[in-house]
Subunit: 334 residues, 3 copies
Amino acid sequence: MRVKEIAEILGCKVKGDGDLEIIGVNEIQNAKKGDLTFLSNPKYEKFLKTTKASAVITGKEYDLPLTQLICDEPYVAFAKALSLFYKENFPEDYISPETTVGKGTEIGKSVYIGDNVVVGENCRIGDRVKIFPGTFIGDGTVIGDDTVIFSNVSIYRQTVIGKRVRIHSGAVIGSDGFGYAFSKKEMRIYKVPQIGRVVIEDDVEIGANTTIDRGTIGETVIGSGTKIDNLVQIGHNVKVGKNCFIVSQVGISGSTVIGDNVTLAGQVGVAGHIKIGSNITVGAKAGVTKSIEKAGVYAGFPIKDYRVWRKTEALINRLPEIYEKIKKLLSKGE
Amino acid sequence: MRVKEIAEILGCKVKGDGDLEIIGVNEIQNAKKGDLTFLSNPKYEKFLKTTKASAVITGKEYDLPLTQLICDEPYVAFAKALSLFYKENFPEDYISPETTVGKGTEIGKSVYIGDNVVVGENCRIGDRVKIFPGTFIGDGTVIGDDTVIFSNVSIYRQTVIGKRVRIHSGAVIGSDGFGYAFSKKEMRIYKVPQIGRVVIEDDVEIGANTTIDRGTIGETVIGSGTKIDNLVQIGHNVKVGKNCFIVSQVGISGSTVIGDNVTLAGQVGVAGHIKIGSNITVGAKAGVTKSIEKAGVYAGFPIKDYRVWRKTEALINRLPEIYEKIKKLLSKGE
Amino acid sequence: MRVKEIAEILGCKVKGDGDLEIIGVNEIQNAKKGDLTFLSNPKYEKFLKTTKASAVITGKEYDLPLTQLICDEPYVAFAKALSLFYKENFPEDYISPETTVGKGTEIGKSVYIGDNVVVGENCRIGDRVKIFPGTFIGDGTVIGDDTVIFSNVSIYRQTVIGKRVRIHSGAVIGSDGFGYAFSKKEMRIYKVPQIGRVVIEDDVEIGANTTIDRGTIGETVIGSGTKIDNLVQIGHNVKVGKNCFIVSQVGISGSTVIGDNVTLAGQVGVAGHIKIGSNITVGAKAGVTKSIEKAGVYAGFPIKDYRVWRKTEALINRLPEIYEKIKKLLSKGE
């Protein structure tokens, strides 16, 4: 494809030679002749002068001989450019003879089911669904059209999965919530039966080895468009809203409700039975122990407004120095 | 079942109509006519007036038209009520032809082994054990009666698993501990062979994608009645006592010994080669770097008595304000 | 074997009876007659007097009747001793009929492939490789000689794995990185196609349920000799150097570059797009948000020099006491 053709699809302005032939997309530091690359993070600006790429997608005009595709959202344009040059090459229309499909299960058109997959009874599998080897799907599960489930995933009974969902290897959906009732009178732990289910709405992506527990009663819900990274834990009866980003190793305790457009950065922990409103970002490693209503950026443990947290952390860093001053005051005061 | 019959089984006092027919159990905010619900967490008290449930299990008498089942431990009663209305409907007495069972392995009565399970050589599988599809069980493993192992679990050789244990999907039991010896003289890393095993006692529950390493030599032990949540890491030669609760994403380093009735809340980290006594609760995200003997509640990193931690955290939150005052003092002092 | 024979192999000096017969290796507190044990961690010195072991590997001479094998690096000697007495007894030269091997895949000599393994198309599997049941290996994957892959591992397409690598159960290698481009103009999330791959160099060990994402474009690389514990997350395009130790539940965000001989202790989090130099140790639970160049030991969140962190933490612990003093000063000042 020529630069000008790509620019038109991506909605970019061309500065330089629009007739250049592009044969692939690559990172700025590794790009070769014929590659299109991009600059989004300013940390990588230094590579602009040395890159061997034929053209670069940027957010502003640079005074460089390199051909530029300029647009407001270069990272979005880059994502679209990658999709132009790369198509996932999934198997299609093949159900392995090494697969078990339970009674009463309906399977759509153009489905791929790999070896050693077990699909339980009374499931509904939509059109163009791909299920990779070793995955287990419990009885009564519903999977929407165009959903991809990678290898060795475990989906417990009665799970509802929407359309265009991607579930990565090793993820576990619908395991029992961590619910026990301790009787002091009997000095005995009772397991609370976990009889609810998990509902994953459309366009959700779930990372490798992430775990999502079924509701105790009722549902654990992941809202449409939400993206969940690897090794995340989502407790029973949690409701996550739409278009959230839940980064790796986050843990959300039971019955907590999270709004739309929420980002929880890596290793955040969220207590149970609380509410996080919409349009909230929580910084890495934070611990959310109380409900947050107001849109904004938060950090720390216990959670604080991000600016307050920065200020507090700066003072903590200065504690040794401040303490020296206090000691002087104290010695004077005596 | 009628309210009065249920109340008798649960040991509750009835206030209201004991002849009401109950057909299911549901959450207070979603209950419908015919449902029994419960109130344990005071956060949900507001739903008492609007719930459509026919009856509610509570810890005290409310002045409401709703029929109440009153008892000291409403959450325990709720757990029992759920068990009355819901039975897990597991397959029984079926060993899939798609299963491999090694030489010398003995299998008990009424066992279920799903498709694509591999059971190694010289194992002993107790009566009424259920093993779901895709699970691997290494040579020489012993599994007690009534234990349930869900799909895609990996159990390494020589593991000992008690009775009535539940192991959720994706859990890994008996992987090598993280043991290496670094020789400065040779500038070379030697792997320490991990030749011990894991022992899981009776009535333990292990969450999805949790990992428990085998002993280097000797055993890693999970004491009877202990409940472990999802994505927990338990290092080599750790001994966990009886009736502990290990919440999601906790990590316990090698050779640490934990007493009975210990609760480690979410994302807690515990150093290696230390001891945590019995009847200890450690708050979420805490880091335990030294042994704790005394029963009580702890939090923070490094760990502190919970009340001290609260006080310290409150002061940290007030640092910006306190610092302003100190600055005034300092300016006066000059 | 006799003590003097073992001592010669391990490079130890014998104090006591060199003709003693050793039949096994055991922990100091559990050793029996005929066992060789070791003392490396001084916490276990108290067991020297009571151990029933026939001989002990130590770092210095003790005035005890016990036969001693004395050397500079007792833990290294212990690792070697264990290897003398214990050999992993893996199956060999057997490819299960329950295995699927794709077109164009080449398999070396003396390979073991267990039941229900799926190997994709155009893979190369080296000599003496062992692949345990339920593992999935995507198209175009290369696996070097003597590598061991345990059960239920998922390896995505095009992964390159070196020689003598060990990958524990449930690990996921090559899943999609967490890459999305959010268009404010369109109010829409675009998935960034993840078209790169993972390269695992020689002598790497990867823990159970650890996840390593493929590069967006380009590679995610784990350098030779690096050891990764259980439940670790490694993001897209991360480069980890040689001979690093990445302890359990660490998370490393995308595009970060880590040098050689780096230790990240348990539950550490590392931000994306930063650089950690060589010969750096980061303490447990720390959060690395900025690049670190200088060799040394670091801790805390945000990260600090370890000694500064200790000092700061000590002051934080003394905050209640210091605050009392400040209050007095303030009351005087008024």
